[in-house]
Amino acid sequence: MKQFVLFIAISFSCFSHAQNAEDVITKINNKFNAVKDYSVNVYIQANIPMLKIMPNKGKLYFKQKDKVKIDSKGITVLPKQGFTELNSFLNEKGAYMAIFGDSVMIRGVKTKLINVIPNNSASDIILVKLWVDLQNNIILRSQLTTKSNGSINIDYSYTDQINYGLPNQLKFEIDVKKFKIPKSIAGDINKTNQQEKTTKEIDKGTITVNFTEYKVNIGLKDEIFSKN
């Protein structure tokens, strides 16, 4: 009986909050969907254990629904997931259930946690947590947990493109414990003292992407994304 009451209480709580949470997501989606395409200058700084890369500049092109391309003079490193997956996923109505969680202050802004749970258990995404500024309908933090790659935490900062929900900075925090360098492939086989570091497990790495000079809805052609 006690268990039954608890089940009813949780179900009611979820149902009553789900409407609101999904409304918030819809508002976020609408804001974002107003952006058909954009180009923006990016400055990428990565601080990832076992990966040393200098900060790099580039130009990022985006076109709905999930076309992304980075032009840069050199090599840039970005998280494999987190750029388009989240928006694509949130745009799939009925693919998930959204539930409000606690309120949290992030960089002085009051945010509300929304837990987004996929309905399809076959989906790679296990759980999405969104910390949303309800006043501006923007995401200030997200956590994407996938079966294949663990968790990616993203912190969002906004300035001039807040109306479109386009951040001026994204800070990704990714799991790096999977990185293993096989000694046989690494060229410096004589460096025996490095062995210890390769097996040492370091959990998190960050990639910070600063966005400047957004050009929104400029009618980007599809060919831009097909060029290598």
Binding site: K52, M54, G74, I75
Partner: protein
């Protein structure tokens, strides 16, 4: 007399077919590597970046001339000593086998000058081989694959070096690689002074490098005390220029040890050759 005999030694090296074997072998090997990278470069590179690419994406021209040059260097620097020893290991012993050392040593040229001229000629040959390797590795692969940032896989992780930050590393890397090969050259000339046939010093040089390299790569603590002094440990010092933060102190140390080896081998060759009774 030293310059005149160095010129003689260069003529001899240039006239021997085996001297071109090194250039030919390098060209062929590099052509094969370039072909393989052109045909299947991305899968070859993904073997290295695989564990990163589960979480990260690498954007930009990853397979570029700099990466190919680095791969070529890394693959071939192990084999170049053989090509060097093939010529330098024959410089004294080859003349003993042919009998011409008798003719030379009865001329008014000191034995020290004979050894030094052979060493200088051997060093020039080594330099030419290194430059040829550099030319093929850097310029030809840049011509075919273009330029770009360099991804280097070290045992402590991946390093991505900006394109503008790469050329000086290659330049200094080649200088240290030359020093390593010069050590091999000096070793083979030293062994050549002990032998009266051509094959012995070449095989002995490669055997020494092989044994020392194996000792160097064994994680056995019993060898830890000698590893820092083995020249083979420092033969890969060129690679340190491709660390994110170049360990200049370690490189200086490697240079000192390689130079000490070169002078030791040269000194021992001079001692041996000056004392040697030429009975061939």
């Amino acid at each position: 007399m030293l310059l005149k005999n160095t010129y003689n030694e260069l003529i001899k090296i240039v006239s021997k077919p085996r001297s071109f074997l090194g250039f030919g072998a390098l060209s062929l090997l590099i052509a094969i590597i370039l072909f393989a990278m052109k045909a299947d470069g991305s899968s070859i590179v993904s073997m290295v970046t695989d564990s990163f690419e589960q979480t990260l994406t690498f954007n930009g021209n990853v397979i570029n001339g700099n990466l190919i040059a680095f791969i070529i260097l890394q693959m071939l620097i192990v084999h170049v000593p053989l090509l060097i020893a093939l010529v330098t290991g024959d410089l004294i012993s080859g003349e003993a086998a042919m009998g011409t050392i008798r003719m030379m040593a009865s001329k008014p040229i000191s034995r020290t000058q004979i050894v030094l001229s052979k060493f200088i000629a051997g060093a020039l040959y080594t330099l030419l081989i290194t430059l040829w390797l550099g030319f093929l590795a850097l310029f030809v692969s840049h011509f075919i694959f273009g330029s770009g940032d360099l991804i280097v896989l070290n045992s402590d992780g991946l390093v991505i070096l900006p394109e503008a930050d790469v050329f000086w590393r290659f330049g200094l890397g080649f200088c240290v690689a030359f020093l390593s090969l010069l050590t091999v050259s000096a070793l083979s000339i030293f062994l050549s002074a002990y032998s009266e046939n051509s094959i012995g010093p070449i095989v002995a040089t490669m055997s020494i490098i092989l044994v020392f390299t194996i000792i160097g790569s064994l994680d056995a603590s019993v060898f830890n005390s000698i590893k820092p002094y083995m020249f083979t440990t420092h033969m890969a010092a060129w690679r340190s220029f491709f660390s994110a933060e170049v360990p200049f102190n370690a490189i200086y140390q490697s240079i000192v040890i390689l130079v000490l080896h070169i002078f030791s081998f040269l000194g021992m060759t001079l001692y041996k050759f000056n004392k040697k009774d030429i009975t061939s």
